[in-house]
């Protein structure tokens, strides 16, 4: 099993969780558990999203109007709440990605110079 993310990376995660959720949802609508699985899978198990931060984050995004939610049946026929990116969310994802790259470049530049 890969090592659990250290505390440093979890701080970074908190700031960028919204961005990662938006990214995960950009492929297709999915429910909360699937989002967590998808992020785990995309990060090659490096990232475990705790429910404690996932659901408040989803609530926050919905309140911002970036995701919309709907109760639907899963493939197994269970009722689940599916989240979906809205148009505003898609725009926000673009902005967030750009801003993230900008941030990373800046940090990188500083790290290289010293």
């Amino acid at each position: 099993m890969p090592p659990r993310p250290s505390s440093t990376s979890s701080d970074v995660l908190r700031g960028t969780l919204d961005l990662l959720i938006l990214k995960a949802l950009s492929l297709q609508p999915m429910h909360g558990w699937a989002i967590a699985q998808r992020l785990e899978q995309l990060s090659r198990d490096a990232l475990r999203v705790g429910q404690g931060s996932l659901y408040p984050a989803l609530q926050r995004l919905e309140e911002k109007g970036w995701v919309d939610s709907e109760w639907r049946a899963t493939e197994q026929g269970r009722r689940a709440k599916y989240y979906e990116l809205t148009r505003a969310g898609r725009r926000a994802l673009g902005d967030e990605v750009a801003s993230w790259h900008g941030y990373v470049d800046m940090v990188e530049a500083i790290l290289r110079s010293t």
Partner: protein
């Protein structure tokens, strides 16, 4: 858009259906847990282990739920909701406080809303037309006479040609015209003769047909008219073929070219619009009819720029016409301020009214605060326990605020509904009585702004009524908790005592004011005019001026005189009519006043018959004057007490005569024989610098009449009256009094028909029974009485509430002491006395103060006389009643005190 709607729907749902949304969150988290467990099962764990592992990984769902809830929109709302629900519960639990406090706050909000709406109308009128704030009035101001100069036709022409900063400059004159309906009946209609640009300014399309055009204003253009919706519906039964029909207006005809939609009344309150066709002769400077000029500020031009342009145009005029224009200054004002334009210094006075209302609300809510505080004191142990359980002071204050907010919300609903009622019932009529006609943009109603204002008042009131007592009751709660001395820390300050005493004083004094008003009303209602006025029909008879008032005055006067005589002749032929007469002012209404001097025989002898021009000011008396036609006293069936009536020769006689009434004989002549005495009139001296105008010639008194109500109904004393013979036609518009058998009002249609047959230009208005002419004034008096009584009731309610609060607080604070004293054998009577002492003192001082106040009011109102024994007796009785009623407020707390069980009281600690 749908996205946005969806979001709001969800937000509201989360707010309202909190539990359903919480259940969904539970379901979502459970689903997550299940999926996690299934994953572990797939990895080879037994179902039980998989579940346990999933739960371990999942952590504490309660915390997630709390965090998720906090991320919701207005997540603090449910807490507030709970506070509000609790507040509602408290209000149900203490219905007395709810009713008294709610009524008091409703009164404060009602008064605040009402004054706000009325002041808003006066201080910030806005024109209810598209782009109404850009519509302006242009006028000439005479800086020497300090008044507007309405004869502005000359300047209007120049403005229209030269002004670049104002578009669509137009003008109107105001007239009342007789309009004949299909049934041949004539009614006076408010008519504007106005330029076609008015319809562009008002941006209003006609309902049917067209509006007036520039071509209609050309000399020789066929006469056309546009009519208003109500006129079309009521007088022409909404006929669709009205356009193109010729209707009779006064003595002429005009073709209807259009009907305006409902509610259109530009320029003021008009129902009929005719083209503006000024005479060329009237265009010399400061000549012609009175006109009102209006226009719309050109795009991008400020009103100041327009003013500057007009002033520079005005300077040119002043240079060219120094004789007429030396003191004329052109002005540009917002059109909405055409009628009421308070000066800056009055503006503050106007704005002080809502400020006063806010202060009144503050006072009212302070009383409610007193009640809340008293109740908080009785609940003190609860507060202490809550505080001990960890409720912060802020939390407890917030709870009291929420309670006051719920109360305030209820009060605001009641207050707004009552304000709406008052505006509908009284506000509109008040404005109409004050302004004559109500311009279309003065539409008093509860607007959204007013509701917002009322909500602001509510929050303010709740803050005073809830936060203040909350702060006071929770002050030093911790110390009290430690010392275990509940109640000892709370105290009523001297300020409350002062407030209560003041309120009781007002309660005691106000009914005297109401009584004085009521007496005025009784006196006005009982006003005796000396003849059975209810059997007479009173009609104001006027005659349309010719086109734009251009008809020569003499010809018009002669026509008017002939018409009046002809009408009298025809009416006398009608069955049931026993008399018709004319007078310039009706009995009971305000008359013209003149300064009269009675000839002093001794002085006249000394100057041996020469007309003395020196006037001794001491002998002058103000007298009421009426101009009557010779048959006046006969028709009113009130024969002269002495001398003779007027005859037809008196009008043109070289030796002018007059008739005085009995009040004149009594007050001016001190009972001397009036016949043969001489009276003349002096122009009141306006300025000391200028020499007084020469007095009128001497008039000989030829008759003495009864007192026939020549004084206004509101006046306290009857004024001495004089009657002068009317020169019909030249004495101005007259009222006609018709003596009829049966109800005078049933005779109205006949009078209309006769007037229409005699001369279509005759306009009849104010058709009413002669005894009802002062009903408007009486309505005002009644309104004032109602307001005074309402204020009295409010002051009484607040006094009672205050006394109750103090009493109940005192009892709560002294529970222990009472218990000990009862245990030590104090009698119930001694206990009652000791509890009663404080409120008794307060109420007594209040009643005494109020009585002094009332006495002062009565003394000044009665003109320095003395108060009768009955008056003093009544005041004493009323004072005792107030004392009794106020002490009733002590009953409940006293009973509570007496039911204190000694053991219980001791155990409280």
């Amino acid at each position: 858009m749908t996205n946005l709607l969806n979001r709001w729907r969800k937000r509201l749902r989360a707010l309202v259906h909190t539990s359903a949304v919480d259940r969904e969150l539970d379901e979502e988290l459970a689903f997550h847990l299940d999926m996690e467990a299934q994953k572990y099962e797939r990895e080879g764990f037994t179902p039980e282990n998989a579940r346990r592992k999933a739960r371990l990984a999942f952590g504490a769902p309660r915390q997630y739920k709390a965090e998720t809830r906090d991320a919701r929109w207005l997540s603090w709302m449910p807490g507030v909701m709970m506070d509000l629900r609790l507040g509602g519960r408290m209000l149900r639990k203490y219905p007395g406080l709810t009713i008294v406090g709610g009524l008091a706050m409703a009164f404060g909000i009602w008064f605040g809303t009402l004054t706000f709406e009325m002041v808003r109308l006066v201080v910030f009128p806005s024109l209810t037309l598209p782009g109404g704030d850009r519509i302006v009035q242009l006028r000439l101001w005479d800086t020497e006479a300090n008044q507007a100069e309405p004869r502005a036709l000359h300047d209007y022409m120049i403005w229209r040609q030269s002004a670049r900063s104002i578009d669509d400059i137009g003008a109107f004159t105001d007239a009342t015209r007789n309009v004949f309906a299909d049934d041949g009946e004539a009614r006076p209609v408010a008519t504007a003769e106005l330029t076609a640009s008015a319809f562009r300014i008002a941006s209003q399309k006609p309902l049917i047909g067209r509006v007036l055009s520039e071509a209609d204003e050309a000399p020789g253009a066929p006469p056309v008219v546009v009519i208003g919706y109500d006129l079309w519906r009521n007088r022409f039964s909404s006929r669709q073929d009205i356009v193109g029909r010729s209707i009779r207006i006064g003595s002429g005809f005009a073709t209807v070219v259009g009907v305006m939609p409902e509610g259109f009344a530009f320029p003021v309150a008009h129902e009929l619009w005719m083209p503006f066709k000024p005479n060329v002769a009237d265009q010399s400077p400061r000549e012609g009819p009175a006109i009102t000029v209006f226009g719309r500020l050109a795009p991008g031009v400020s009103i100041d720029a327009a003013r500057a342009e007009l002033v520079s145009l005005g300077k040119r005029e002043t240079a060219e016409f120094p004789q007429t224009h030396a003191h004329l200054l052109p002005q540009v004002k917002p059109y909405a301020r055409l009628f009421m334009d308070p000066k800056p210094q009055d503006m503050w006075l106007m704005l002080s009214i809502p400020l006063f209302a806010v202060m009144l609300l503050g006072l009212v809510c302070s009383n409610v605060a007193l009640l809340m505080f008293a109740r908080a004191a009785t609940r003190e142990s609860e507060l202490v326990v809550r505080s001990a359980l960890g409720a912060s002071r802020r939390r407890i204050v917030a709870q009291l605020f929420a309670e006051a907010l719920v109360l305030g919300g209820l009060a605001a609903a009641v207050g707004l509904a009552a304000a709406n009622f008052a505006i509908e019932q009284w506000g509109k009529r008040y404005l109409v009585e004050n302004m004559g006609t109500l311009p279309f943009w003065y539409d008093p109603h509860i607007s959204a702004t007013t509701v917002l204002y009322a909500l602001g008042l509510t929050v303010l009131g709740a803050a005073i009524a809830g936060v203040l007592p909350g702060m006071k009751a929770t002050k030093g709660l911790g110390t009290r908790l430690r010392n275990g001395t509940a109640g000892a820390g709370l105290r009523f300050g001297g300020i409350w005592t002062a407030v209560i005493i003041a309120q009781v004083a007002i309660t005691a004094a106000f009914p005297v004011v109401a009584f004085i008003e009521q007496r005025e009303l009784w006196r006005a209602e009982a006003y005796d005019v000396g003849f059975p006025a209810e059997r007479y029909l009173a009609v104001a008879v006027a005659m349309d001026a010719g086109p734009n008032g251009a008809t020569a005055d003499t010809a018009r006067n002669a026509k008017y005189a002939t018409a009046l005589e002809e009408m009298r002749r025809r009416l006398l032929d009608e069955p049931g009519v026993s008399g018709v007469t004319f007078v310039d002012r009706l009995p009971r209404t305000e008359h013209h006043y003149r300064l009269a001097e009675v000839e002093d025989p001794s002085r006249a002898a000394a100057s041996s018959g020469a007309e003395s021009l020196t006037v001794s000011r001491d002998s002058l008396r103000w007298v009421s004057e009426a101009t009557i036609d010779p048959g006046y006293f006969d028709v009113l069936e009130s024969p002269l007490l002495a001398g003779r009536a007027f005859n037809s020769g008196d009008v043109s006689s070289d030796a002018p005569v007059l008739i005085v009434d009995e009040v004149f004989v009594k007050q001016v002549l001190h009972g001397r024989n009036a016949i043969g005495q001489r009276v003349r009139f002096i122009a009141p001296s306006t300025s000391k610098a200028k020499s007084p105008e020469a007095p009128s010639p001497w008039y000989e008194i030829v008759g003495v009449a009864k007192d026939l109500g020549i004084t206004s109904v509101t006046s306290r004393n009857r004024d001495p009256g004089i009657y002068l013979p009317a020169d019909l036609g030249r004495s101005g518009p007259m009222y006609m009094a018709v003596h009829v058998k049966g109800d005078p009002l049933s005779f109205v249609p006949r009078v209309r028909a006769v007037a229409a047959a005699v001369d279509p230009a005759l306009r009849l208005a104010e058709l009413q029974r002669l005894n009802e002419v002062s009903n408007g004034v009486l309505w005002f008096l009644r309104l004032w009485i109602r307001i005074t009584l309402g204020l009295t009731a409010m002051a009484l309610l607040l006094s009672l509430a205050g006394i109750y609060a103090v009493m109940s607080f005192t009892v709560a604070r002294r529970t222990r002491e009472i218990g000990i004293r009862v245990a030590l054998g104090a009698s119930a009577r001694a206990m009652v006395m000791s509890i009663f002492r404080k409120p008794l003192t307060q109420v007594s001082v209040g009643v005494a103060l109020g009585s002094v106040l009332a006495g002062l009011v009565m003394l000044t109102e009665m003109g320095g006389g003395t108060i009768s024994a009955t008056g003093i007796g009544l005041m004493l009785v009323y004072g005792l009643v107030i004392l009794g009623v106020c002490l009733l407020a002590c009953v409940v707390p006293t009973r509570r005190a007496l039911s204190v069980e000694p053991m219980e009281a001791l155990r409280v600690e």
